[in-house]
């Protein structure tokens, strides 16, 4: 350990010398490049190497070349996850204590709840840039729109960024009457229009490749944050990618979840004893749907699969390019989704009420409802809770919630820092907040106590260096915990245990306790059976609240959900028998025509 520290210190001290060379004599910096590929709303089981039938050969190749992590946690929605990723600091301190779109009245104006990545924190690109890295970003930002909050102001020297949380993949159309246009920046300037032949995933990749090439000759390593908009809804994708799974999902979500679970067990992602989470009670049994309904509902999943595959192909383009310029072998890839798959109907939430301002806006900008237009500009398709649960196989719940389906995601790390067996799987407890200290280790940089004369909040993440080096199975001790709060839902995980409080009806508006190692599907609430464990975990929760400025919101998007969803009952396959009763056929000898 001492030897490692010595080497690390020597490396850090040598860094500034390396970069002080004159411009005319570039010195080859052998520190690895770093590429973070963040897929928006990608589910835990959506990559082939995590059990999916969706074809993702390029991400699978990274997994085969690196290591897969099965116990990796993000936050429950976009901007909180992204803020923790880039700052390494808890959301309630970094400005995303709540999403900007849902800030509660009692949180307004409070530090940590600005709705953007606040100035109290420093970002990975700021520190890596200071350490001599080039820093590039392409894709979705969603952490502030004002000039002091955009990527260029937060450490990225080159960027092509969608500042909003979502929007069209084809143009600048956004979702509400008051924000009809998405905002984009390129290299710190706000764009008035998009490049010709713009398609988000393709353009992001093209831009990043151009940034890498522009500085390739100077010998400096680069950090690239590839925050793909895909596969977030609306499912916009080129026509040639839409029909690769026609009819495949007519079998439905139950069958597809079972197929994925089987593959996950074969791959070693999930233990052989793991059960599938109960289908959420408000999602119909697929077998009860008419063939036409299956086709239409299945079409949404077909598009999602196509969107994933399109994104994977562009990731492949980036990988191929890095190989062409000789940088692939010296590049660390970190691939994951930012939260659980999206089971909410965003379009309905925004514009689902006839006669409203946003409903009228949708009529003008988002009304391409014909299935053959799905994927085109003006179409809005999201696949809903049934398919979201497929994406989150074997878990329950989805984006926005703190069930495993909302926060656990698939993680791939590959590249020269990985000394574990290629294609191996690790079950250690990991957090998105770990990425900051991990990357600082990779770059030979440190997290400062102060940045630009401001004291920085402490990092909550743990570096993966020892795990990647094969020296440890987890970056956490059994005593370390991870905690979450968003929209009033709360959770703590320590070791095998998870304590969770969620709004009714997805939760119980009371604390529930799960052993998520044995029961990753969170089927068995053990709170009543193990009150001491609940008490112990509640102490962790209190510790988290106290140390991280947690202000529970006075209002929540989920506060009235109990009145919207149907009453919750257990889901028993085939119940009630009525729905599966078939025509009775009497014995042939007892059949006759009526007497006239």
């Amino acid at each position: 350990m001492k030897k490692n520290l010595f080497l690390l210190t020597a490396f850090i001290l040598s860094g500034p010398w390396l970069y002080s060379q004159s411009p005319g004599s570039p010195v080859q910096d052998k520190r690895p490049n770093i590429v973070i590929i963040l897929a928006d709303d990608m589910g835990y089981s959506d990559m082939g190497m995590f059990g999916s039938e969706i074809k993702t050969p390029n991400m699978d190749a990274l997994a085969a070349d690196g290591v897969r992590f099965t116990n990796f946690y993000t936050h429950a929605s976009c901007s909180p996850s992204r803020s923790m990723l880039l700052s390494g600091v808890d959301t309630h301190l970094n400005g995303l204590g709540n999403m900007d779109e849902w800030t509660a009245p009692n949180q307004v104006g409070k530090p940590g709840y600005e709705g953007n990545l606040n100035d109290a924190v420093v970002t990975i690109p700021q520190l890596l840039k200071d350490a001599g890295y080039h820093t590039y970003m392409v894709g979705k930002w969603h952490m502030g729109k004002s000039p002091d909050k955009i990527p260029a102001a937060r450490g990225f020297e080159r960027d092509f960024s969608l500042l909003d949380g979502a929007g069209s993949y084809w143009d600048m159309t956004n979702f509400t009457a008051l924000t009809p246009r998405s905002l984009y920046t390129e290299d710190g300037k706000y764009l008035t229009e998009l490049p010709k032949k713009y398609y988000a995933t393709k353009t992001y990749t093209d831009k990043l490749i151009s940034y890498i090439d522009a500085n390739h000759e100077d010998g400096k390593p680069f950090f690239a944050y590839v925050a793909h908009q895909a596969p977030h809804d609306p499912y916009h994708l080129p026509r040639e990618w839409r029909d690769r799974h026609v009819g495949q999902y007519d079998v439905g979500w139950d069958m597809t979840r079972n197929q994925r679970l089987k593959k996950q067990k074969e791959l070693g992602i999930i233990s052989d004893s793991a059960l599938l989470a109960e289908r959420m009670w408000f999602i119909p049994e697929y077998a009860l749907l008419a063939p036409a309904a299956r086709a239409l509902v299945g079409r949404k999943m077909e598009l999602y699969a196509g969107l994933m595959e399109n994104m994977d192909s562009h990731i492949g383009r980036l990988i191929d390019h890095l190989k062409e310029i000789g940088e692939y072998e010296n590049t660390v890839f970190i691939v994951f989704g930012d939260n659980g798959a999206e089971g909410n109907d965003l379009a309905a939430m925004i514009a689902g009420t006839p006669g409203t301002r946003d409903n009228l806006y949708f009529a003008s900008a988002w009304s391409q409802t014909d299935p053959n237009a799905w994927g085109d500009p003006g179409s809005y398709v999201g696949y809903g809770a049934g398919w979201a649960q497929v994406s989150m196989t074997p878990f329950s719940q989805y984006k926005g919630w703190l069930g495993e389906g909302g926060i656990r995601n698939a993680l791939i790390v590959s590249g020269p820092v990985n000394k574990r067996a290629k294609g191996s799987i690790n079950h250690g407890l990991m957090s998105v907040a770990d990425i900051m200290p991990t990357l600082l280790d990779i770059a030979g940089a440190t997290y400062p106590k102060n940045y630009k004369d401001k004291a920085l909040p402490p990092l909550i993440g743990k570096s993966w260096s020892d795990v990647l080096a094969g020296k440890a199975e987890s970056s956490r001790t059994p005593k370390d915990y991870i905690a979450w709060e968003l929209f009033g839902n709360r959770a703590v995980r320590q070791g095998d245990w998870k304590l969770r409080w969620e709004y009714t009806p997805l939760g119980k508006s009371a604390w529930e306790l799960f052993n998520v190692t044995q029961d990753p599907a969170e089927r068995n609430d053990l709170a009543s059976a193990q009150p001491e464990k609940v008490k112990e975990m509640l102490m962790l929760w209190d510790d988290y609240v106290q140390n991280n400025n947690v202000i529970l919101p006075s209002r929540s998007p989920f506060e009235g959900l109990y009145d919207v969803l149907p009453a919750r009952f257990p889901v028993d396959a085939g119940y009630p028998p009525l729905v599966n009763k078939r025509q009775y056929t009497p014995p042939q000898e007892l059949i006759k025509s009526p007497k006239q």
Partner: protein, 333 residues
């Protein structure tokens, strides 16, 4: 999920507008010179039925009801025709097929001042019913159910079709102008539909072409004479495009050649003409479509050239029991 299922019902009913149109147009148009028309060979859900009512007003120097279009130089024919029929989509060997029958009826008047004719003549009544059968041979499989319908895109499709007129229409062997033709005739053709761009209502564009050959038996009692007609070659093409979800239009062109008529050994001229025109169609509701079209021959300045033009208005009503049932369920909500 309830929203999703409701969405499905809306989509099915929406798509039915297309089905209705398809069936309505899949009826052979006996009023020649205009051809079958655009969007004639689009496919619909099997089991769909349609009834068309077509009104035509045609004029020129040949009998518009006679598909051989024997030109009578100096003649002025005027025809007001109505046609009604029935068509049904059905699968044959898992391919889309359609069988239809159409009955012409109406009135034709001619004002002729030539060596052959020098009088005013009027014919009225029922014409020769025509049956037609067409089957797709290249392109998507038959639309057997609503999932197939939702997934249907014509791409590049080719049909084989054949039609036959049954000579039972009213015929006066003392008159040169008749609605019935007193002979068997029919055609075979290879309709082609080529989808250009997306298959989305409001955006659909197709290029359609129909090469066909007409065959005619002899009329042994054409004013007491024998009329023989050689095969006639027809090529019609259409460039169609949706202007809006329920409004579309087409540029039409039709060419006819051959079809030389010989009356008691005296051979007439072969046809060699081109007609151009346009069509507008509107989906009135889920069951009904109305189209209006106009076409006129071009390069027709010589007396021997076919000179003909015409208006046509079609009203087509289509239905399918499944879609009707879904509409009733929707109404009961």
């Amino acid at each position: 999920m309830k929203k999703c299922l409701s969405e499905l019902r809306i989509l099915i009913v929406h798509h039915f507008a297309m089905i209705g149109i398809v069936l309505a147009l899949c009826l052979p148009d006996i009023a020649m010179g205009q051809g079958d028309g655009p969007r004639f060979y689009w496919k619909g859900l099997n089991g769909t039925n349609a009834i068309p009512v077509i009104g035509s007003s045609l004029g020129g120097n040949a009998n518009p009801v006679d598909p051989s279009h024997n030109v009578v130089p100096g003649a002025d024919f005027e025809a007001s025709m109505t046609m009604a029929g029935y068509a049904r989509m059905l699968p044959v060997f898992k391919r889309s097929a359609m069988i239809s029958i159409i009955m012409p009826m109406g009135r034709i008047s001619s004002d002729v001042s030539t060596n052959v004719l020098n009088n005013n003549t009027t014919a009225r009544g029922f014409g020769d019913p025509m049956v037609q059968f067409g089957i797709n041979v290249v392109g998507p499989k038959a639309i057997m159910n609503i999932p197939d319908m939702l997934r249907y895109k014509p791409g590049f499709s080719v049909d084989v079709m054949a039609s036959l007129a049954i000579p039972i229409g009213e015929y006066d062997n003392t008159s040169p102008v008749n609605i019935g033709q007193n002979r068997w005739y029919g055609r075979v053709g290879l309709p082609v539909v080529w989808q250009i761009g997306p298959w989305v209502p409001g955006k659909r564009t197709t290029f359609e072409v129909l090469p066909a050959v007409w065959f005619f038996s002899d009329n042994n009692d054409f004013e007491g004479k024998k009329m023989e007609t050689e095969p006639m070659y027809q090529v019609e093409a259409h460039l169609t495009h949706d202007f809006m979800e329920r409004l579309w239009g087409s540029l039409d062109i039709i060419s006819m050649s051959g079809g030389t008529a010989t009356i008691d050994g005296i051979e007439g001229n072969a046809l060699s003409n081109v007609g151009v025109g346009g069509t507008l169609g509107i989906h009135v509701n889920e069951n009904m479509q109305i189209t209006g079209s106009y076409s006129s021959t071009i390069n027709d300045s010589n007396p021997e050239d076919l000179n003909m033009d015409g208006f046509r208005v079609s009203l087509i009503y289509g239905w399918h029991k499944l879609v009707e049932g879904m509409r009733r369920l929707k109404g009961s909500e």
